[in-house]
Amino acid sequence: MEIKTEKRDNAQIILVSGMLDASNYQKFEEDISLLIQGGPDKIVFNLSNLEYMSSAGVRAFLKTNRTIKSKEGVMVFCCLKPFIKEVFEIAGLDVGFKIFADVESAVQFLDA
């Protein structure tokens, strides 16, 4: 699993690639926690390269959201592949989070 970051306008775009499962969800939580520490409070998770996510990955995103919310920040998702979309629906993440078709729409929402 790989993470790349990019700044666009006032938002931090975090591109998550590979698989997010029980073997790496804790490292993911730590890496994201370091990234957002004292940093941006508007996050876009670009999941266009995320091939698979298990329940452990769901927990990682929920915990990350809790951290961002504690700093009065906002976190959204974009570019979900069909399988990841299904995982979001089963896990109920599609109800609590905003999901966009592309990065531009997500950034526009955060700027508004």
Partner: protein, 571 residues
């Protein structure tokens, strides 16, 4: 009976919808034009044996009557008669070479007798077809359907390009008419909607007739043939009769198998075209459709005409125009039955210009070839299936060079006489040979302390390819098994071995995950976000819930010191 299906949105008239009278008639007429193209087969046979015009007209009229009756029966779809789909009948190309053989050996009565026998054989075969499912998985059916389209090429292409076999030259006037006719059909389909799109083939053919008249392909001699034909015509009883010859049994049985497989492909295509959720052939429906296909030959033999079979071209037409209503089948049947009694009207079809015939055939063949390829690719492929499909295509296409097989023994020559029969026999045999060594179940050993996601995914993808499973089921199974393994690793952190046994047949995919540890709890409700955020162990509950959502059935059991998780998917 058709099982309740989800209507595809692109259909204008789906299987159970009845168009109003005018579209019903025009749509039926459009199909009749395509069906009439196949009436050249009886004419070809009669001319080959030096038969009379009366013989030819009789076979053509009876061909219309047989096609009309069997199209109605095929559309009926109740009490075990017919598939219930718009699956018109016409003179089937599978029998052409064996039919010529029979007519040359013992005259037309022998042809009628052997067709009658083939019909009985196919009707009996329909009763056991569900048990022979292993013989025609998706790759076999798909190859047959593809080659049904390809096999029409020797009839369609020379007519399209105006090829003269005696001179070896192309008639550019014919080619021009064919290109314009085809272009009109395609343009109307692509760029129009509603009724014009529905009748694109009919409109194209009418333009083709007009252009043929303007350019002299259709001339006064054709009009004279229409004027000379009687208004009303009833069967001449001297043409009826059945004869039999045991030496022709093998070629006709081979032709019957090709025709049956083609019909399986055709009816499967109809099922698929009318159900957005289509996953696999409805075997009971197929069985009823094949029975009616067999009865069609029984009727054809008794009436004294060429073998009738489901029409791939017409099914392609119905898909291409979005009108798959079974009521169109009734309209086709009634028009054909009426035409069989009016030689003057029938002559309108008999004089169809060759380039118009070629254009209409090429148009419909496109949809048949694509339907076959889609059936092949609806399942996961592995190296075995690559060889089954690839070799069948190559061997089947080799029949386009008949000189390769000119010294093949007479008794099996019909197999090599057409791309369809050669591809069919090849794919059936290769499928059976390549099944050797395939096991219906496989075990994967894993250590829950390691990262297993990729290992599980690779295992399932390989097995899915070997079994020819549906890709969407394999994706769900991979995810479910991984969730089960992750859940167990959370609740039993000390275990270092789990066995995942996966079993597959055409209808079921099952996983039995066993380990030495505490029993698995199946969660039917999602744990709250708060719980998941605060308690890491809640991941196991979430994993159990997600597993339950991926699978069709989940259960757990403790047997001795082994705990089991049973996961089931309907395939």
């Amino acid at each position: 009976m058709i099982i309740m299906a989800r209507r595809p949105p692109e259909l204008i008239y789906s299987v159970d919808e009845k168009p109003s009278n005018v579209p019903l008639f025009l749509l039926g007429l459009q199909h009749v034009f395509i069906i009439s193209i196949s009436l050249i087969f009886p004419v070809v046979i009669v001319k080959t044996i030096g038969g009379s015009d009366a013989d030819a007209m009789f076979m053509v009229s009876m061909g219309m009557l047989a096609a009309g009756l069997t199209t109605i029966l095929q559309s009926y779809g109740k009490h075990g008669i017919g598939s219930g789909y718009l699956c018109p009948s016409l003179c089937g190309p599978s029998y052409l070479s064996s039919a010529v053989m029979a007519a040359q050996t013992g005259g037309l009565h022998l042809l009628y007798g052997m067709i009658f026998l083939s019909g009985i054989a196919e009707s009996l075969l329909s009763r056991v077809i569900t048990k022979l499912r292993v013989l025609f998985p998706a790759e076999v059916t798909g190859v047959v359907v593809t080659f049904v389209g390809i096999a029409v090429l020797p009839i369609a292409f020379p007519r399209f390009i105006g090829y003269n076999a005696e001179t070896g030259f192309i008639n550019t006037t014919d080619l021009f008419i064919a290109i314009v006719t085809l272009a009109i059909m395609i343009s109307l389909n692509l760029y129009t909607k509603g009724k014009i799109k529905l009748y694109c083939v009919l409109i194209g053919m009418i333009f083709g007739y007009l252009l043929s008249a303007m350019l002299g392909i259709l001339n006064y001699s054709h009009i004279e043939r229409i004027l000379d034909a009687p208004v009303l015509g009833f069967p001449d009883l001297s043409h009826f009769g059945l004869a039999f010859n045991i030496t022709l049994l093998i070629p006709f049985l081979i032709a019957m198998i090709c025709s049956t497989l083609k019909s399986i492909g055709d009816i499967t295509t109809c099922q698929r075209a009318n159900d957005l959720d289509w996953r696999r052939p409805d075997m009971k429906n197929l069985s009823d459709g094949i029975l009616t296909d067999g009865l069609a030959d029984v009727i054809s033999g008794l009436l004294g005409t060429f073998s009738q079979s489901t029409s791939s071209s017409n099914i392609g037409l119905s898909i291409g125009t979005g009108a798959t209503s079974r009521y169109i089948g009734y309209s086709i049947g009634i028009v054909l039955i009426i035409l069989s009694c009016f030689p003057k009207l029938a002559m309108l079809f008999v004089i169809m210009p060759s380039p118009v015939m070629g254009a209409a055939l090429l148009y419909t063949v496109c949809f048949m070839v694509m339907a076959g390829l889609q059936i092949i690719m609806s399942r996961m492929m592995d190296i075995r299936k690559t060889f089954v499909v690839g070799l069948s295509f190559l061997v089947g296409l080799s029949a386009m060079t008949p000189v390769f097989y000119s010294n093949v023994p007479e008794i099996i020559r019909p197999i090599f006489a057409s791309t369809l029969s050669l591809a069919t026999i090849t794919v059936i045999l290769l499928n059976l040979i390549m099944r050797v060594g395939i096991k219906s179940s496989k075990v994967l050993e894993i250590n829950p302390k390691e990262n297993n996601t990729q290992k599980i995914f690779d295992f399932m993808k390989i097995q899915g390819g070997i079994w020819g499973a549906r890709p969407e089921i394999i994706t769900r199974a991979m995810s479910a098994i991984n969730e089960a393994v992750e859940a167990v690793s959370f609740t039993n952190p000390d275990i270092n071995r789990m066995d995942v046994k996966v079993t597959f047949d055409e209808l079921n995919l099952d996983a039995d995950i066993s380990y030495k540890g505490s029993p698995f709890e199946v969660q039917t409700s999602r744990p709250s976000e708060k719980l998941i955020e605060e308690d890491e162990n809640a991941i196991a509950d979430l994993a159990s819930y997600m597993l339950n959502r991926y699978a069709d059935k989940v259960s757990s059991q403790k047997k001795g010191d082994l705990s089991h998780i049973f996961i089931h998917f309907d395939h």
